[in-house]
């Protein structure tokens, strides 16, 4: 062993990985959980030790980042892989029955479930509405704050505040804001109509309420990114344009917009991914109601996972969503890069 270790240290370390996996699998199969947990832990630790021993004195940089990667693996990647594995088994987290292999059953079930398609349509509607509203408002705010004016810094801080609030606070705030008996919106409308105003009673009203709350919270984020683009435009370009007496419109399209475009794409990307996962505001404001008209796919995954405890089904659904977001993101990046090249 010693000689092997001296001659092939890296290979030994690598060979220890499948060995550790086999030992863990055997331990999980044949030993009670309380024992197999420690056996698997010990063989994993031994395997990790071999890598560390190899890298000692050879790859100091790698060793320094290793703890961070190990932590990431334990807290993030491993649970992710575990839940991915669960999506191929019959398993419910609140039952005693051990997992049984199910193959692609849950993927098939989820993809052919009309409820899922309905929730996806609701989500798509929300994404389109809220992201476009955020882009427009964020852009206009950025144009405003790109100029110097009195109290600009104070106003900027105020405008950025919603983004820093917790989701729960925003949800609770808007719940009262729209409340027909005490709420500000209802009180204001009542001055003119004499009747309390019940925004959240219809599907359209509830959607509007959610979109507005989400846009209120996240438009400042778009503004921040666009503002960074705006201040990076060199002044001399505007000076040259004014010498040439170029129109404001042309100045915007030929000078300002190209500088901002890539950041705008970035904002669009971030906000689309986030809006796709829209949960907090919906859950706090309407719980997906009236009926299920504002129940986004994220709320539905929550229900399947933590209310119905269909663990495998919710895992399969979550991976399909992850896949969708990855595809969307790549499409975005592809088109963004293509444009930049042309």
């Amino acid at each position: 062993m010693m000689k092997v270790w001296v001659v092939y240290p890296l290979r030994v370390a690598f060979a220890s990985v499948p060995a550790a996996l086999i030992v863990s699998a055997l331990a999980i199969t044949f030993l009670p959980p309380s024992v197999s947990f420690w056996v698997s832990g010990a063989v994993s630790a031994f395997s990790a030790f071999l890598f560390v021993a190899y890298a000692w004195g050879r790859h100091a940089g790698g060793l320094l980042v290793a703890p961070a990667i190990a932590l990431l693996f334990c807290m993030n990647i491993f649970p992710l892989l575990w839940s991915f594995g669960l999506s191929f088994f019959h398993y419910r987290a609140n039952r005693l029955a051990p997992p049984r292999f199910a193959g692609l059953h849950y993927y098939e079930k989820v993809l052919s479930d009309p409820v899922v398609w309905d929730r996806l349509q609701v989500t798509a509607k929300m994404v389109v509405l809220t992201v476009s509203l955020q882009m427009v408002i964020g852009f206009l705010l950025a144009m405003l704050f790109a100029k110097q004016f009195p109290l600009r810094r104070v106003l900027l801080i105020l405008v950025l505040t919603p983004m820093m609030l917790s989701f729960v606070a925003v949800g609770a705030f808007f719940r009262y804001y729209y409340e027909p008996t005490f709420g500000l919106v209802s009180q204001a409308v009542r001055v003119f109509t004499g009747e309390p105003y019940v925004l959240l009673q219809s599907a359209a009203g509830a959607t509007a309420g959610i979109v507005f709350a989400d846009a209120w919270m996240w438009s400042p984020f778009v503004m921040l990114l666009v503002l960074a683009g705006l201040v990076s435009v060199p002044k001399y370009l505007y000076e040259a344009a004014s010498i040439d007496r170029i129109s404001h419109w042309r100045r915007f399209w030929s000078i300002t917009f190209p500088y901002v475009r890539s950041l705008l794409m970035l904002a669009l990307l971030f906000r689309t991914i986030e809006a796709f996962k829209l949960f907090d505001v919906v859950f706090l404001l309407t719980e997906g109601g009236p009926g299920t008209s504002t129940e986004t796919i994220a709320v539905y995954v929550y229900r399947v996972s933590f209310q119905y405890f269909k663990t495998s089904e919710s895992a399969a659904l979550a991976y399909i969503l992850l896949f969708t977001v990855i595809v969307l993101t790549n499409l975005y990046l592809y088109f963004a890069n293509k444009r930049n090249r042309t």
């Binding site: 609140n94 039952r95 409340e179 027909p180 019940v198 925004l199 219809s202 309407t286 109601g289 119905y308």
Partner: protein
């Protein structure tokens, strides 16, 4: 060499210490153990009072030093937090205050302990079980429902009662106007209010709905005012509890788990009686504060509106009563009275008040060690002793012990107690099977569509019946 010496010294030292401490332990008398009862509880007055009573007066008979450590969790998150803790395997809690409908899910998961052996071995527990109202034992303890397997003891039994504004209902001017309009007497005392049926409640709704600037009890209103309120919220069970009651009163039924596997959902859940009951429920929503149209008027919103002085008559759980008569939390603290919740008047003149049961049992966890479990059962015995139950009732709680709530003095503890004892035997429960949450969520969604005016009662109940039939067939509860 130096190292060797140090090592030897250390080994000798630790050996000596070990011998000494072992000697000490064997020589000392049996020491009182520190035992902590960790309990998941919803955060509301009944559990806060329990903690308070425990800290003031609990002494374990065993001589152990027992402390109660409740985790106060807000109601809306309670199911998720408790189920998260149980399923994660962290084994954090020794006990929990569990909603009765969760029994199936958490017993099948292997978390809640079966108590039959403990009860059989302990005459004190048998006396307690015999002394409880049988409706409570069925709902809080048995799984399968109404079987002889016991899993829980009542922590706080709760019923739906009527809260009403005595300043308005006992106002002479309002009574005269009411008499002139309906040729009926406006109830004022609890005894009179106990006779109010749904037709009377509809009249309250119509009569007391007033606009800003109009008069109420002789004073001009500075805001709109509403006649009635009951639960109509989409979250959790915040419409089912009232709707199921209404359906039962009209002679309809929900899917009855005790009739499994032959009892069907289709044809029962959407029977003509059930549709009539639900239609009756929907017909009264027009008299409620406008938030009802959004489907978010849950029990908390109702409670808030009532304490803000916006509603004349409301049906809600007794659990909220304490805060409605507390001047710190209620604008109407000195103007509230209580009565039995309204029911449906039958052809023989009697009023059917079948209602959905509230309140929660204690459960013990399967992973408790022997000492903790013994102390947990001792704690239950203390809690369900007549002395503690009386102290709890005096502080604003309720008791399920017949000897306690049946005693004449019980009604003097709190202004709503007279309605509790009279209502408790009219209580039924919905389902306890593990699929409870799926049934509930879908039902709440369909109810919500009807409440917000997107569909009628028949369509909603048809959709619920169809969904339940399929789900229950798949789960093997219907053959």
């Amino acid at each position: 060499m130096k190292h060797g010496n140090t090592l030897r010294a250390a080994v000798c030292g630790s050996a000596a210490a070990a011998i000494l401490s072992a000697g000490l332990f064997t020589a000392a008398p049996v020491l009182a153990e520190d035992i902590v009862l960790r309990m998941a509880v919803p955060d509301w007055p009944p559990t806060r009072i329990m903690k308070d009573l425990f800290d003031k007066g609990y002494k374990a008979k065993s001589g152990n030093n027992v402390t109660l450590e409740p985790d106060f969790i807000p109601w809306p998150d309670y199911y998720t937090r408790l189920s998260g803790s149980l399923t994660s395997g962290e084994k954090r809690y020794n006990m929990a205050v569990s909603d009765s409908q969760w029994l199936g899910a958490f017993i099948e998961g292997g978390y809640y302990q079966k108590l039959n052996d403990a009860i059989e071995a302990d005459p004190e527990l048998q006396t307690i079980m015999d002394g409880l109202n049988p409706a409570l034992v069925d709902a809080y303890s048995t799984y399968p429902h109404k079987s002889k397997n016991y899993y829980g003891f009542p922590q706080m039994p709760d019923v739906l009662v009527a809260y009403y504004r005595s300043d308005i209902f006992c106002d002479a001017g309002e009574a005269a106007a009411f008499k002139a309009k309906y040729n009926a007497d406006l109830p004022c005392t609890p005894e009179e209010m106990n006779n109010a049926d749904w037709d009377m409640v509809q009249k309250f709704g119509e009569f007391f709905g007033r606009k800003k600037g109009e008069n109420l009890s002789g004073a001009a209103l500075d805001d709109d005012f509403y006649g009635i309120a009951y639960q109509a919220g989409k979250g959790y069970d915040f419409s089912t509890m009232q709707i199921a009651s209404m359906i039962w009163q009209h002679g309809g039924d929900i899917w009855d788990e005790t009739k499994a596997p032959t009892g069907k959902a289709e044809g029962v859940v959407n029977s003509p009686e059930a549709v009539k009951g639900f239609e009756h429920y929907l017909s009264l929503l027009q008299y409620m504060p406008p938030v009802v149209k959004t489907g978010t008027m849950d029990i908390f919103k109702q409670d808030e509106l009532f304490r803000e002085g916006k509603v004349a008559y409301m049906i809600n759980w007794i659990g909220f009563a304490e805060s409605s008569i507390d001047a710190k939390t209620s604008k109407v603290s000195d103007k509230v009275n209580f009565a039995m919740a309204a029911g449906l008047k039958k052809s023989d003149g009697s009023i059917d008040r079948t209602y959905n049961i509230g309140g929660q049992p204690f459960v013990l966890m399967t992973w408790n060690d022997e000492n903790t479990n013994t102390e947990a059962l001792e704690f239950v015995k203390w809690w369900l002793s007549p002395e503690t139950q009386v102290a709890f009732a005096k502080a604003g709680g309720q008791s399920g012990l017949k000897s306690v709530y049946g005693d004449a003095s019980y009604n003097t503890f709190r202004p709503w107690n007279h309605a509790f004892g009279a209502s408790i035997s009219n209580q039924q429960d919905i389902w306890h099977i593990p699929e409870f949450f799926e049934l509930l969520v879908q039902q709440q969604e369909e109810f919500d569509k009807a409440i917000t005016g997107q569909q009628d009662a028949k369509t909603a109940l048809d959709a619920i019946a169809k969904f339940q039939e399929e789900l229950l067939l798949e789960a093997g509860h219907i053959e």
